[in-house]
Amino acid sequence: MSSSAENPTLTTEITKPSTEIATETAQSAKKINLKTSDDQIFEVEESVAMEFATVKSFFEDAPSSTDTVPLPNVPAKPFSQVIEFCKEQIKFKANPDETEKKKSNSEFVKEKTNEDLVEMIPVANYLEIKDLLDVLNQAVADRIQNRSVEYVRSFFGIDNDFTSEEEALLREEHAWAFEDVDED
């Protein structure tokens, strides 16, 4: 058991057989249960959960409280990706390396679909994970910067509420801004 005590953060399994819990020391990899809006329970390490400012203040307000923290605004799918991000971030807390961190962040967003990114934004916002919000906002900005208006509408699921005359006027006024746009 000495090796696992030295590296408590390396035990990243979501669940553990209950028989093993008794052998763990009180400090090592304490787990917290987080319940999503669609009633899925995620068991995450305390160090990961403390990355969520919202959860952190929940425990600061009521230190000895409940086993399961409800996250009513957080669906499971984006939440699992948010956890993935925070686990990576924790590694850089212990061992800061800005270059590696940037590389890891860009790897993270590269693998995500447009929908993934857009779904994670409100979750990161609700959980107050500033680093992730920065990464997501920049990633979305990079993806839409050179795109057409139609692409952006479908990216965010926005309905066009202009009349065709109004839209034509806007396009005419800033015609130069509609040039050199990437193909959809």
Partner: protein
């Protein structure tokens, strides 16, 4: 329904603040909510602070009758300065609603305007070119506004 349609405005704003002016001018046509957000003075001010290298913005009355130009400047310290340009014979003829930024160029035949930072003299210049060419006879007239001197320089 796609998830994005319920993104609150403050989260949309955080993304839009990271875009260059050309994208913002294009995305005014996305929907009415985006148009209102991008042309709001609050957004323009914040965008100025976010992008110090693009610290000149032209603002104008949306769907108004007045095409006068005003200029907004944010320096590196975030200090904001808003000033109306002095009147010029061409001032009300320039159709440049919305926002623009340094080193951008607009083209409204027969007028072209461009504005940018000139590092050598540490000045911002706004250039308006009026093309009065007739039947192959080239006739260009240009005026330049200088931010330092706060006036129009007439050229020919």
């Amino acid at each position: 329904m796609p998830a994005g349609s319920c993104l609150p405005e403050d989260m949309i704003k955080e993304t839009l603040l990271r875009l260059p002016v050309q994208s913002l001018l294009r995305f005014q046509a996305v929907c009415k909510r985006w148009l209102a957000l991008i042309t709001s003075s609050n957004f323009i001010l914040t965008h100025c602070k976010h992008r110090p290298k693009h610290s000149i913005m032209l603002t104008n009355t949306w769907f108004g009758e007045n095409y006068g130009i005003s200029m907004l400047e944010a320096d590196a310290t975030g200090k904001l300065d808003h000033r109306n340009l002095p009147s010029s014979p061409m001032n009300n003829a320039v159709n440049c609603r919305g926002i623009g930024s340094s080193n951008a160029l607009g083209n409204y035949p027969p007028r072209t305007f461009g504005f940018g930072f000139v590092p050598e003299i540490n000045d911002y210049r706004l250039l308006i070119v009026d093309d009065a060419s007739l039947e192959g006879h080239l006739n260009l007239r240009a005026v330049v506004y200088t931010l330092i001197e706060h006036r129009f320089l007439e050229g020919s």
